[in-house]
Symmetry: C2
Subunit: 424 residues, 2 copies
Amino acid sequence: MISIIEYSKQNKYSSFLKRKVFENDVLEKTVSETLKNVKQDGNKAVQKYTATFDGYNSSAFLVTTAEFTEAENQISNTLKQAIQNAYDNIYKFHLSQQNNELPVLVQPGVKCWRKSIPIQKVGFYIPGGTAPLFSTVLMLAIPAGIAGCVEKIICTPCNSAGKINPTILYTAKLCGIEKIFKVGGAQAIAAMAYGTETIPRVYKILGPGNQYVTCAKQLVQKEGVAIDIPAGPSEVAILADQSANPAFVAADMLSQAEHGIDSQAVLVTNSKSMIESVQQELEKQLALLPRKDIVYKALQNSCMVLVTDLTEGIELLNEYAPEHLILSVVDSHQYADKVINAGSVFLGNYSPESAGDYASGTNHTLPTNAFAKAYSGVSLDSFIKKITFQEITPQGLRHLSTSITEMAEAEGLQAHANAVKIRL
Amino acid sequence: MISIIEYSKQNKYSSFLKRKVFENDVLEKTVSETLKNVKQDGNKAVQKYTATFDGYNSSAFLVTTAEFTEAENQISNTLKQAIQNAYDNIYKFHLSQQNNELPVLVQPGVKCWRKSIPIQKVGFYIPGGTAPLFSTVLMLAIPAGIAGCVEKIICTPCNSAGKINPTILYTAKLCGIEKIFKVGGAQAIAAMAYGTETIPRVYKILGPGNQYVTCAKQLVQKEGVAIDIPAGPSEVAILADQSANPAFVAADMLSQAEHGIDSQAVLVTNSKSMIESVQQELEKQLALLPRKDIVYKALQNSCMVLVTDLTEGIELLNEYAPEHLILSVVDSHQYADKVINAGSVFLGNYSPESAGDYASGTNHTLPTNAFAKAYSGVSLDSFIKKITFQEITPQGLRHLSTSITEMAEAEGLQAHANAVKIRL
């Protein structure tokens, strides 16, 4: 079911740590066509695609006040309280990410500073259907609200009756989002990128989706619409020593595996008996899961790796650059200090990935597929841009002038030098 | 030569503020082919392309110690001092962008924090030829050094004798970069994205380039290699009232226009006489410029806009989202506070764009083409990624548990709930 690798050489890591590669030439052609049609025909094209793929044939894309109220009535108080607790924690952690920088007097008469400004218009894609990811609404809308984004909209697919899962509507309203459009797939990305008669154009699109959504985000990014991070299958890696609890380890691997058949769970340990115990636990716990077909397939992409020591383990994990990294080891802080490439790190035996997925306060939109080598997860930073300012006095410009004119002339740019000379 | 627009309606802004659009379907095919060949054949393909496009047919891509020394001997002391002054200012301003966040106790027993980690491997593309942009070396290598990026490499095209402009070599060495490869164009981007026998693979590629380089960066980004910002033609906008000096305004417009024939300079003013005076100055100053053919063509894409008042002016400019924005108005701070979309802002009559291009301390790699609506320029942030961490105690997990399990079950993810239940 799951591969076991013992004492591999470093140059063999990549053979068992590789992710699935998706070829998407055909996909790209289909998605390009969708983008082109929505750009050209606006609402008309959106309606046509929505009728075809979601079975909802109407031009009424916008969720109404009555629908928000109806959704609110369908949510239990327990779930409302659960969402509120998660909201509060996510809000608190993302609020702490605010950062005010002071102006810098670079040299006499030369003052420079940066200012954070919210991206004015952002759009969120929220998948619907069997996995209505209302938790992702929290993860995107809360930091966008803290940042101060003026226009925040959601596109999410509805069913053939035009209904959206009530948890999504309830959570969106809680986060202050009132414009939700019943549009899914590549057509939703196109609508937010170009705007239609009904759906406003936004400057940045965030949120997960299937391969059509992912491809559409990549293509509109090429036209200058910003996106959150490149997407790939989700994954967890666990570094465990003898002190880890095999039942907890197995539960964490299974929670990752239930996301989809291309998910990956990797255990790295210096204990051979841990591998055996985790394997037994996997079999035991798997049998009881409702999504066991998905989990079973995901475990076939997964592996358990026996290493000589934990230092080798952490090196291997930095090379793998997992989206989620759980450190179930005695001195978890020591190993946390050595993490270079990961999306989010969970320390100790009582910090399961699902805490971060929902409620601890960290963001769950994270770099997969080794993108953690260059990308961060979503945070408050994702919703702001920083503009630099400078104010120079006549005296300050005099001090800078030789530097500017010498360099400009060495680059062959005489007019750049002139703009200084004419002022002196 | 330059268009003049008087008292336009707001809904007409886009007609005169539009940028040139480039169709690149053919280009993309050519560049894809280059990427594929370099990925497959490594050095061999790089050498073939370098021989074809730069006339240098050798496998010796790496700049030698002797070449660094030779370059250093060719640079005058005045230029060295100019570069050092710019270096110091850029270093000082980017150092101020460091930011240490403290852990947050989100709720009892639930601690979350973020840590900034340098992107380990970064590659810079530096254009060569007639405009050897050694100032861009400073703008990329200084923040990368402050961030602590471990591997920093440069690719830049050489001439047929295998020589690189000495200013580029000198500046790179000053910034601690010792691996410079004599490779340009799309083949350079491919080499840094995939690695070859000689050129190391990097996780993020930064720096400007021609349309082949830009297209190659877009394509490798789709494969998960991070890039700085999408590229477009450079531009400046100036907001001026009666207090502005027409000669300064004209000089700033010309300094922008000399970048290339697709550059754009936009003057927005509430003073009709200012437009007349600037026009006279443009003609006068243009006649003396060495690159006047380029400047003349760039001015044909440019415009001067007469507005009723400066508030309308700043609204128009926020819609335009210029890369550079100069505020030559009496109360420049008042209008700086109203800027929402711009790359970098220059306050008052003595803060020319060329100060920021070279030596004031701000970065000159900025979002063009209205990308400032969603993107920041390059800064220290461009070279780090932020990893989130969380540490939860058994007590803390108990407090979070209902929130996690309720939400997980409402999303249909039973194994996520189990990972918490098994720990309680």
